[in-house]
Amino acid sequence: MSRATLTALLAAAVLMLFVASLAVGPAAVGIESLPQLVAGRAGDAARIIIVEVRLPRALLAVLIGGALGLAGAVLQGYLRNPLAEPGLIGVSASGAFGAVLTLYTGIATAFTLALPLGGILGAAAGVLAVQILAGRDTSAFTLILSGIAVTSFAGALTALALNLAPSPFAALEIVFWMMGSLADRSLDHVALAAPFIVLGAGILLTTGRALDALTLGEDTAATLGVDGARLRRRIVAGTALAIGAATAVAGAIGFVGLVVPHLLRPLTGHRPAALLVTSALGGAALTLAADIAVRILSAGAEIKLGVVTALIGAPFFLWLVLSARRRLA
């Protein structure tokens, strides 16, 4: 399959799932309402459900899923490790802590966007700490170590917030938020996250050629004209913007950034640059599909999106382990 065919197929899948996402939900508003809405003949109830309830979810699924897939592909290429994922440089954990802090202190209820803004500030603080820790060294290794340090510290602070939560209800609210979800998000959330995600994705998309060069290792890449320090700055900034905003709005949605580049890699000839756009589309498709599954599966209590992606991701990981074992045997 050529890269153009693969890209077209993935884009078509995203489009179909996007439409399906507008047509599926507990309310009795189905696919037949979409043409009516476009023609301006839909009822108020149908219009509100599609435009104000389902459209933000679908848009966020595309933006966030795309960011996760793209950042996963970039980090796997940069670290030359198929197990790398977008949270590795600490931005997810610190973003989550920033959001949790607004829940813990009650600021989250002060105004609608307090929580995602807290998340974005947390992600920014985390990435700043990673940059300072990693210093001027340009190797990927120090970046991973700094990311692990920041992730652990943010995780500890999040646990502390849970530990000191004023009531069991507050603790539950924090835990539920951390599971990751696109439910009950508004177009305001989309407007807040979209500029960061689009800018971050734009930066990440410029790294393709340098990632290709890194196939030969850091030294040889440097002799091919890759500026290691500049590449790392772009990757950290792009990931921080895209994944920081994604985490701030939706909480932690695991495994998308790990699984998608992995699945698509053999289909793109294993070339890191060929994996960027395709992984963004694949991430958008997987997140849309998982979010639709959430709505179909949730009869009583809502099953969180992060739970569904983990339920898909963990068996996939198992399969990775088994196939690696077969190869080594």
Binding site: R80, R209, D212, A213, L214, T215, L216, G217, D219, T220, A222, T223, L224, G225, V226, D227, R265, G269, H270, R271, P272
Partner: protein
């Protein structure tokens, strides 16, 4: 570009002086063997020449322009570097891997063009790996991989090529193949530095040898002049059988020199 030179290079790692004042010249059309015992500073010198290490003191220049002043991609077009025991991190095809050598020639928004594809084809042909073009690089034998990596370095078509132990771990036939490719590239006008441990290979395929010891160049010149009994005993600490056969010198290590 015809001249790559290093002047008064000094460099220390963690307080230990690895290069203690090295002057080095490379001209287009010659193949220079960089030899010396382990830890003599050969790889460090090669990395300084490639611009991978900025030396504490001294300057590396191409035709009078310091390489530190060249833009990264301009330096990439001027100096090609073949890393020691290089491997590929991803299972790309041989053709894709060799094509990475064209990266310094690509514009920011321009992909590979006909000139780049021609260069890749020439490199694949020169290293006799054209038949492997569609093979994933993780399914190559050691000898095939070495030639593919060399093809990647040749695809840059740079005036200077620095190769760090390109024949290490290869059987004699493959080692001779690799050296023949390098010699052909030198005859075509490129300046080539090759780090070699096999002294017979070095003697027979290099125009000039540079012998290093403890961060200094201790001998330089024709293979026969450099690989004399006194240098072999003093620098390598060995007694060796030396001589010439079939138009070139050979060195067969026999025993440790006593008193070293």
């Amino acid at each position: 570009m015809t001249r790559l030179s290093a002047r008064a290079i000094r460099h220390a790692f963690q307080g230990r002086e690895v290069l203690a004042g090295v002057d080095f010249e490379l001209s287009g059309g010659e193949i220079v063997g960089l030899i010396g015992p382990n830890g003599a500073g050969k790889t460090t010198l090669l990395r300084v020449l490639a611009g991978l290490i900025e030396a504490d003191e001294g300057e590396v220049s191409v035709d009078g322009t310091a390489i530190a002043d060249l833009a990264p991609d301009a330096r990439g077009r001027a100096i090609s570097y073949l890393a020691q025991a290089g491997t590929s991190e991803w299972a790309v095809t041989v053709e894709t891997l060799v094509g990475l050598g064209r990266i310094p020639h690509l514009g920011r928004f321009r992909g590979p063009g006909p000139a780049d594809r021609d260069a890749v084809r020439r490199a694949l042909g020169a290293c006799d790996v054209a038949v492997l073009a569609d093979r994933p690089v993780n399914r190559l034998s050691g000898g095939e991989r070495a030639r593919v990596m060399l093809a990647r370095a040749l695809a840059v078509e740079a005036p200077f090529l620095l190769a760090d132990e390109p024949v290490a771990g290869l059987d004699p036939a493959h080692a001779l193949d690799v050296m023949a490719v390098l010699a052909a590239r030198a005859r075509a006008g490129a300046g080539i530095v090759v780090v070699v441990h096999d002294l017979t290979i070095a003697a027979r395929h290099c125009d000039r040898l540079v012998l290093m010891q403890e961060g200094r160049i201790v001998a330089e010149g024709s293979p026969e002049a450099v690989l004399n009994q006194s240098n072999l005993a003093n620098v390598y600490g060995i007694h060796a059988l030396t001589g010439t056969a079939k138009g070139g010198a050979y060195v067969v290590p026999l025993s440790r020199a006593r008193g070293e």
